[in-house]
Subunit: 288 residues, 4 copies
């Protein structure tokens, strides 16, 4: 095992008060954990303290399986904390949803195949058969669930079953052009990442490049966000834009947008894999 793999990551927030940071870092130091990363942020308007701290476990005196319990008993209760504890050697398991466009899919799979990410991708789900050949190139099982108004509930139930069976921890919609039901979303709150091809909140909904062209904007954008019940309105993780001119047709926007979409989606997926995103209300804290 790589020495860096043996770390714990704590993502937490609680009402702000003096001494939280000192208490948590002392807890780790005292028990011989070596902090290798700490990023904290205080929302002073709402008086909430947020922190991500990562430490090496090699000489940590509390056994891995007891850390969450001890932390909760000794510190969490006192500060009324909401926290999650992760271990770097437990990889998240990611399902990709795709429809007919390959650019985001290729970008995700290329990074995965190149070993850039500490993640498993056991399967790809689609409402169309078109991308199966891409899945095959990367030897990843491809499940085709055609969706109609009539069968949607039933098909989503089958998808959820498949995800559960494969211990999927989060889903990535790589230009998946099918709205998920509230029921589906509720199985993965803040664990479904979508890429929308505009700088939200502008041009939410269908055909944003057409709308952008019609409006005559001079920039187009892409937004990755967690999926919530309200369409294109969930917590934003990453956004970026690129410059366009009056010369660009809708086709040009679609083409220029592809590079934005794939990079913006992959950046969000990477932050999620690294447990660096904390969704709070309808916003995200993205630790560095």
């Amino acid at each position: 095992m790589n020495i860096n793999d043996n770390t714990a990551v704590l993502l937490m927030h609680c009402p702000d008060q003096p001494g939280i940071l000192a208490t948590v870092t002392e807890f780790i130091n005292q028990h011989k954990g070596n902090i290798i990363y700490l990023d904290q942020y205080v929302n002073r308007e709402e008086k909430i303290f947020f922190m991500r701290v990562e430490w090496q476990l090699d000489f940590f005196q509390i056994p891995k399986e007891k850390i969450a319990e001890y932390f909760q008993t000794l510190i969490g209760i006192r500060y009324n904390m909401t926290f999650k504890l992760y271990f770097a050697d437990t990889k998240p398991r990611m399902a990709i949803f795709v429809s007919k466009m390959p650019h985001c899919l290729y970008d995700l799979l290329a990074r995965y195949a190149a070993g850039e990410w500490r993640v498993d991708i056991p399967l790809i789900i689609s409402n169309h058969p078109d991308m199966e050949n891409v899945a095959k190139r990367f030897d990843i099982p491809y499940y085709y669930f055609p969706i109609t108004r009539e069968n949607k509930e039933e098909q989503e139930a089958r998808e959820l079953e498949l995800l559960a069976k494969n211990d999927i921890t989060f889903c990535v919609l790589a230009r998946y052009m099918q709205v998920l039901s509230d029921n589906f979303i509720n199985h993965y709150p803040n664990h479904i990442i979508n890429i929308h091809h505009s700088f939200l909140p502008a041009f939410a909904g269908a055909k944003p490049y057409h709308a952008a062209h019609e409006r005559g904007v001079k920039l187009i954008g892409a937004t990755s966000h967690y999926v919530t019940a309200e369409l294109d309105a969930g917590p934003i993780i990453v956004q970026d834009v690129t410059r366009i001119t009056h010369k660009d047709t809708v086709s040009d926007l679609i083409k220029k947008g592809r590079d934005l979409e794939k990079i913006v989606l992959s950046q969000a997926v990477e932050k999620h894999i690294d447990r660096k995103v904390l969704a709070y209300r309808n916003r995200t804290i993205v630790f560095q």
Copy 2:
């Protein structure tokens, strides 16, 4: 007179058909004009041809005051052209409207005072007295027109009179926090430039930084556009964005936004002064 000052600028559009560009450039060459700039663009969806061409008049055989007439008779009618002819030695005359924030105002006046622009700024209009001291630093007359619901029509009439008396050709709203009436706007169609502190069409209307913060976007923007009857919906000239994080409060956004606003507004003003913007329907062609 600087040799480059003695030029004519033609901004035109017409239904596209073969030969327009050759015809216009021949017209200029044939009469001994020397083309120093040409940028054209064909909107192939709507089949419209747009062009900006600038040529030296030193040896041009048609007298300045006759060029528009000759061009219309010999070429304009044949191609059903809409065109405007400008001369570089006729400076546009610009009025600045401002309320209480100085950053855009300073940026405009500093460029003006430094001689960066070929423009006259005979006056500044405001609905508040606060910025008079800035106007004084630059020795520009400052007119204070307090606006209430009751006196708005009357005050705007006085403003229009003042603008007319000073031969103002276009207006710049440098964070002028007062909506202009349709009547006012109709006196300067596509000749009033506003800066809105968001990447439109997101966050139109009041308090865009508050709305951006509330939505949790990762970029904030600024948009300069021509003012039309519908609020924040006119043809966009320049847009830009800057990156923000969860750490930025509304005050931080306001502060980061100031640099965006002033640069985006001044870039639009410069393009307008250089007669490089052509508004068509609700979009702009911005020539290079």
Copy 3:
């Protein structure tokens, strides 16, 4: 055949004088060619006229195989033009050179496989065996030429033979970590595209991310350029940068740089495929 495929592209430059643009466009119109794209640029310091014009051949009265000759005879000689004529239905043939890093390779191949580009990629060449599995995923022949100081001349001769046999028109160095000999480069002048992982001319040569970190810059960049005899000094096609902070280690720079490198390389390749790059002296004109 798609109607848009039947077009001719003319890339040209010549000493500037009045009337060139009119003459060329008349030549095309007169013979019933329909111009669908025109971008011109005059370098006024050196008095050189550059143009890219593309027109539909469906009703063009000069046969394809005669156009170059007629153009040269009727116009080229008169204006002392240097020009190249391409046909959209003749695809360029591209060879990829790669060493051990997959990110640029994947990005090129994903676009190719997705049909984004009008190009053929008959083969991949490498000085290492590592990337063969990527080539296999995309069913592209992979040729492994290990290079040592002793065998370099001989191996390059074999590579050139292979390129010739496959009618390769241009080469793309997708993080190929081996300097090509002058002899090799001379076989493909301005037809070998390299990606260098810095904003040239800063940090030319080896280990630019280490050098950038050492210098403490706040931006890192990537540069795609044509390869010339002088290392990292050829005509630049595309450059871009991304923001970094003091927190970024060399490993972070390498990681952030990967996205830059692949996008900047692919953008240059696309411009080259579309015959929109004209190298002149040590610079490029990149038509829109």
Copy 4:
């Protein structure tokens, strides 16, 4: 006094070891200081811990004038710290050096006059008389020191005397086209901010826009940095770039560069005023 004014800012670094952060935050909390800002960074390669912490003094039990001593005795010695302590209500005093170009000067003065910065600007120094009219607009004393090879040492001595008399804490070179002597620089180590009109280390020295044009780059940049004995080689504070094309002449670069220069310089000055820059060896830590 504004409540936020009564704060202390500690900028520090020391060899990294467990517990520093906890010790410092405890020191502040224990003595009833309320931390309103904390940003830390560990350079893991060189094992150095850096931190900026700001806390309210209203109920802090150690008197202002004793804090540095207590901190050094109780904590600094133990951790072998290098630190500086500032108080928000003690404004830095800034001298501007300028030659003939007004754009950076105007931008600095406009922010100052608008009250954006917590700074005093008691004087402007120049080696030319040209900018005196700008200084007058803002009612700031302007000192003209013409520099020749012969009188440089003497003139610099007079400048240093003037700076000392005015309690100047840092200098800003707003396009000051005169190299300072090592002796001068040694009076203000890491307290002289320069703006260089390129993305350093590319195009150091004279005429960077000419060099950028000659090289054919597709981006131009600006770099603000602390001045050190080696020209254009000091610790970089802020950098930014803007996109250019083959169409841009040297004059266009100069024009486009102006906006970059003024924003990049002002951003660095602001960070310095806010005591958010810590120079370490030849790099900077720029706290958020």
